[in-house]
């Protein structure tokens, strides 16, 4: 079903080509606005920005390694109710997968939306990004995509991809209406545009781009990258399990936590409108703390740190897409992503589920069958 076309790249300027392409998308009668990673005028930062004025597309930068938030939540805000106006949203693969989870939870809608995915070059952690970016953003982005696409990673100085990106086996979007292909493509001449849905196909037709086949080496370079990432991921799983396989180790792993709940705020699939940990349930009487302290001799304040993390694992690990924004948001450098991905891999496998894979697959805890998991039940 997939249909592919190409857009030309002039003077090695990938961003210029992408901006032209987005301009053509926004020019379409059907598209009211585009949501894109956009360089803020007041600082060298890239944020998701909703644009209706084609002139503003000059600051679009989908290839920057800035990844300050998972855009799925933003797209959910734009789509949760019908507007009758279509938005084209450009997202990284992990943002698309998180968005798919939100659609299943009825917190977002696929209607009135055109998803434009990109082959993901990865991102830097916020801290590394600020340290690294400098004043010339054109230069910074070009250095970054050249380094990643050459496969050598040279030129990034003393920073490397965020831990989540280093172990991400989904660098290529699936389920996007249109997907921009970079890996295994001769990007000095052209970028690949692939329609992955019927809507995307119709749209590609309307854009009137020159048809093209995917380059023969593309699948091979994707397979190689995915294999490397999967191997790195499995090593990370082993390291993390080893670091957390007892209560003693888990408490050491989480000891820096100050219960700020930033990881939960940053998480695109932490779906509760109001988290139980900020409700009255945890608004204990002052005397209660003193009684607990009397019973145990000492209680760490604030309390319920491990309880919070394990509960969050129980609530959202089956929907975890591994975007790493939890680690990015942690003020005390706890490797939250590693813990959550490791457990999520196990819980998703237990229900033969993969977060973000398919919008038609119901989340594991929203469905059940009469005969299943009988091994967990028993009177002895």
């Amino acid at each position: 079903m997939s249909k592919t076309a190409k857009i030309d790249v002039k003077d090695q300027n990938l961003l210029g080509a992408l901006r032209q392409f987005l301009k053509a998308v926004l020019d379409q009668e059907a598209i009211h606005a585009v949501l894109v990673p956009w360089r803020l005028p007041m600082k060298n930062m890239v944020m998701p920005t909703l644009i209706t004025d084609p002139e503003r597309l000059e600051r679009v930068d989908p290839l920057s390694p800035a990844f300050p938030m998972n855009g799925a939540k933003v797209v959910s805000r734009l789509t949760r109710k019908a507007t009758g106006r279509k938005v084209a949203a450009m997202m990284r693969p992990c943002e698309i997968r998180a968005f798919v989870e939100l659609v299943k939870l009825k917190q977002a809608r696929m209607e009135d939306l055109l998803i434009i995915g990109t082959d993901c070059l990865g991102a830097l952690t916020n801290q590394d990004y600020f340290k690294w970016v400098g004043d010339d953003m054109d230069q910074a982005t070009q250095t970054f995509y050249t380094a990643v696409l050459s496969g050598k990673g040279e030129g990034l100085g003393d920073v490397s991809l965020a831990p989540a990106c280093q172990v991400c086996e989904f660098p290529v979007p699936a389920g996007a209406d249109l997907a921009v292909g970079l890996f295994g493509v001769n990007t000095s001449d052209e970028l690949l545009i692939e329609a992955q849905t019927p809507q995307g196909e119709a749209f590609l037709e309307a854009l009137g781009l020159a048809g093209a086949e995917a380059p023969s080496g593309r699948q091979q370079s994707i397979d190689k990258l995915v294999a490397e990432r999967t191997a790195a991921r499995d090593e990370m799983f082993v390291r993390t399990r080893e670091a957390t396989d007892s209560l003693e180790k888990l408490t050491r792993y989480l000891a820096n936590c100050v219960n700020c709940y930033n990881c939960r705020v940053a998480c695109p699939v932490c779906y509760c409108r109001e988290c139980v940990f900020v409700t009255d349930v945890f608004d204990h009487e002052p005397l209660q703390y003193l009684l607990w302290a009397s019973r145990k001799g000492a209680i760490k304040m604030p309390t319920d740190t491990v309880f919070y993390h394990i509960t969050r694992l129980a609530h959202m690990s089956t929907a975890c897409v591994g975007c790493g924004q939890c680690s990015n948001a942690c003020p005390n450098d706890i490797p939250v992503m590693e813990l959550f991905r490791t457990v999520a891999h196990q819980t998703q496998r237990a229900f033969e589920y993969e977060a973000g894979r398919n919008v038609d697959e119901a989340p594991p805890l929203t469905q059940f069958k009469e005969k299943e998991f009988e091994e967990v039940v028993g009177i002895s």
Partner: protein, 140 residues
């Protein structure tokens, strides 16, 4: 550890397992006093966090009791409980909690004898496992 008396927290469905516990009582059947019963309206309302909290606060074992398949007063609450127990049995052992510390059982309202037997059996099983980690060290 022969003199170890475990603390066991039980979440029993109002319509079946709790009624069975009542029946055991009125039938003068005895079961270990280690089991602290919390009556809930349905096993399907036991959020994973109740189990996690109980274990972290020092419960050595947790039992969830629900209706037999097809008998749920709310049609399918027990099936939801089963999925949640499946989930917890994936997560808790990652952190060193033995999967056997959590048990899900279907016990009908008329099964007073079975209930008393199960409580004895589970208490014995937990005695063999010994105290759970949160009893022995600080939990943050």
């Amino acid at each position: 550890m022969t003199d170890f008396e475990p603390t066991i927290v039980a979440f029993f469905c109002n319509w079946c397992t709790y009624t069975a516990a009542d029946l055991a009582g009125t039938s003068r059947l005895s079961y270990p006093a280690n089991v602290k019963i919390i009556r809930v309206m349905c096993s399907g309302m036991v959020d994973p966090q109740y189990v996690i909290k109980a274990l972290l606060e020092g419960a050595d074992g947790v039992i969830i009791g629900g209706c037999n398949p097809g008998d749920c007063h709310y049609i399918n609450g027990n099936y939801k409980a089963r999925r949640r127990v499946k989930l917890l049995k994936e997560i808790l052992p990652s952190f060193g909690f033995e999967a056997e510390r959590l048990r899900l059982a279907w016990i009908a309202a008329s099964d007073g004898i079975l209930l008393a037997e199960m409580m004895r059996d589970f208490t014995e099983q937990i005695k063999v496992l010994g105290p759970s980690a949160p009893k022995l060290r600080m939990v943050i």
